[in-house]
């Protein structure tokens, strides 16, 4: 009997406890009825927002018990007000809407910039994996320091040259302080050559939140360019020469061409000034980033010459396999991940002016990478009987490189075609570079980035479908970018003009600057250091001290 009484007591206590808990979380219908004014304000209104509307919208919120479903967080109460005593005004609401849009775009662009920064890790492991173990520390250290050296050059000189005359970037709230472009008057038009404001991010009012976003995003693009070169030149590049060469690339070569394409320079204005489509259009940098990097790599490879043992005396190439294919393919995945910052992030927006096209850009990027790897694998399988792993990785990257420029202008089918062509093209280009030019490119960067960057630039002029809309105009020309296959041949001319500039100007400029480096610093290590491996002579330590590296097999020279 006693047990029954105790059991009943416990049962009643538990039920009472549950009732108490429920009472602490009132159901929606238990909330106090809304005031008449609030009820009136809740009715749909077709007129402009009035002050009483705002007063009614702001209600006291009880969050003493948290807000697990989020219904009480981010309400009218959270609108930033200019005068708390007055409460929210229409002006406050409009300002908040604008701040929200720009905040979303800032967040998106910064996040994508962080993703691109992580691509440095991808490049580092791809290049280190494709070199021999005796050079792994040296190659990794080049990829490590290229980030800092390039950034310093860009901070001191490069950014003002590139973006100093870019004008207002509407998606980031406008950047009116970037308004100084040096131009010459030629053919009756202003030919913009380089920007001239923003030095140290302080000059001429450039200590500005929107300018900071642009700097970060553009800086990581520039760093991608510089790290392309280290792959081609690895295993024989003097470390001091690498640093000086990278300074030149980050300070001058990249920013000049980037200004012409993205900073309001003459290539971007080909449409507005000379009626060539929408001017040179490069959505995320097949030309600006990858071709500049690939062509600079070619120039440096000419100056450096091939590694000892790469070619026989009669010019036949020897295969020099890398030391870690795991790193190579892991790095390719890291790069592909970073590419989702590279391409979709180039909308510089998720809100307004075509920001929602970021989804289309992302899908195009995925598709081209996929078809690129298929193209490369199939080519190698058919031609050599095996799906070569390193070439599969390069074909994957080639697809991504090629879609970088057109990603914002083409449809998914075109993206798949562009990637497939790139996957085959990179294999053909690698063979051409090695067997015809007899240029030693240990990682295939000239083909992946140079050749396929140019293919991407041309693809814009062919496949752009005129459906993209980034605020009603592009490069100062109203309407949307449309390629040859959709009726605008002049866009292809603008793209080819970009190609001619890349090959005829950027390559030459890179070559001349690196000749200076060769004369004053010396680009190539000694033959003794090269045979020993650069880890100890250049860096003072090997990458794998716990392992004994077996001697290389004798190669025909």
């Amino acid at each position: 009997m006693t047990k029954k009484i105790v059991f009943l007591f416990l049962l009643v206590s538990c039920l009472a406890r549950v009732g108490t808990l429920r009472a602490q979380t009132p159901a929606p219908e238990a909330q106090p009825p809304a005031a008449p004014a609030a009820a009136a304000a809740a009715a749909p209104s077709t007129g402009p927002i009035t002050q009483p509307d705002l007063k009614a919208a702001v209600q006291p919120t009880d969050r003493t018990n948290g807000d697990p479903d989020g219904s009480k967080t981010g309400t009218a109460n959270d609108i930033a007000v200019s005068d708390p005593a007055v409460g929210p005004t229409v002006t406050d609401v409009l300002n908040q809407i604008g701040a929200n849009r720009i905040g979303v775009n800032f967040g998106w662009t910064l996040l994508c910039g962080f993703l691109i920064m992580f691509m440095q890790a991808g490049f580092a492991v791809v290049e280190s994996g494709l070199c021999r173990a005796k050079n792994a520390n040296h190659t990794m250290m080049m990829n490590f320091m290229v980030y800092g050296v390039g950034m310093l050059a860009y901070f001191l000189i490069g950014f003002p040259l590139q973006m100093g005359g870019a004008g207002a970037v509407a998606n980031l709230g406008g950047t009116p302080v970037l308004n100084s472009e040096f131009a010459i008057h030629l053919f009756g038009k202003d030919i913009g050559l380089f920007g001239n404001t923003g030095y140290l991010l302080m000059h001429h009012g450039t200590y500005d939140v929107a300018v900071m976003v642009i700097f970060l995003f553009q800086m990581v693009f520039m760093d991608t360019t510089t790290t392309i070169v280290t792959g081609t030149c690895c295993e024989r590049w003097k470390y001091a020469a690498f640093m000086v060469s990278t300074m030149f690339l980050g300070a001058f070569t990249y920013p000049i061409f980037a200004n012409w394409a993205w900073g309001g320079g003459w290539l971007a204005m080909l449409g507005a000034n000379f009626g060539l489509g929408h001017g040179y259009s490069d959505f995320a940098g097949s030309g600006v980033v990858h071709s500049v990097g690939g062509l600079t790599a070619l120039a440096c490879a000419f100056i450096l010459g091939p590694r000892i043992g790469k070619f026989t005396r009669d010019g036949r190439p020897n295969a020099i396999p890398g030391h870690d294919i795991m790193w190579v393919l892991t790095g390719c995945f890291i790069l592909a991940f970073g590419w989702f910052g590279f391409n979709p992030g180039s909308t510089l927006a998720l809100s307004g002016n075509g920001g929602l096209r970021a989804s289309s850009v992302a899908v195009n990027t995925m598709l081209a990478g996929m078809t690129g790897s298929f193209g490369g694998i199939l080519y190698m399988w058919i031609r050599y009987g095996k799906p070569d792993a390193s070439m599969s990785g390069n074909a994957f990257l080639a697809g991504l490189v090629a879609i970088t420029a057109p990603s914002g202008f083409v449809n998914p089918i075109a993206a798949a075609i562009i990637g497939l062509v790139a996957g085959v093209l990179v294999c053909l280009s690698c063979e051409f570079v090695e067997r015809v030019l007899r240029v030693d490119d240990p990682v295939g960067a000239i083909s992946v980035h140079g050749t396929n960057g140019i293919w991407g630039v041309i693809a814009v002029g062919l496949f752009s479908d005129g459906k993209s809309n980034y605020g009603g105009s592009w490069n100062g020309v109203s309407g949307n970018v449309t390629g040859l296959f959709y009726g605008d041949a002049s866009q292809l001319v603008a793209q080819l003009m970009g190609v001619a500039t890349l090959i005829g100007f950027v390559f030459v400029m890179s070559f001349v600057l690196n000749l200076f480096v060769d004369w004053f610093v010396g680009q190539r290590v000694s033959a003794k250091s090269e045979l020993q491996g650069l880890d100890v002579p250049e860096m003072g330590a090997v990458a794998y001290p716990d392992f004994i590296l077996k001697p290389e097999p004798a190669m025909a020279v």
Binding site: L186, L270, G305, I308, V439, A489, L496, R524
Partner: protein, 59 residues
């Protein structure tokens, strides 16, 4: 190599000059393509043979 650089740069000049000499898209297309061909000749036809003479074991 210096000659090769000059020829390569000449290709760029040919393409660039097309902006001033004509308004025709077709003519510009031809001139730009000609410029690209000249650029490629400068690299493959002039710089490459010169470069192959400078390999480290041929110096």
């Amino acid at each position: 190599m210096i000659v090769g650089l000059a020829v390569t740069f000449l290709g760029f000049v040919i393409a660039f000059v097309s902006l001033g000499v004509t308004d025709s898209t077709g003519v510009r297309m031809v001139m730009v393509l000609a410029g690209i061909v000249v650029c490629l000749f400068g690299i493959m036809g002039v710089i490459t043979p010169a470069y192959q003479k400078t390999w480290i074991w041929k110096r």
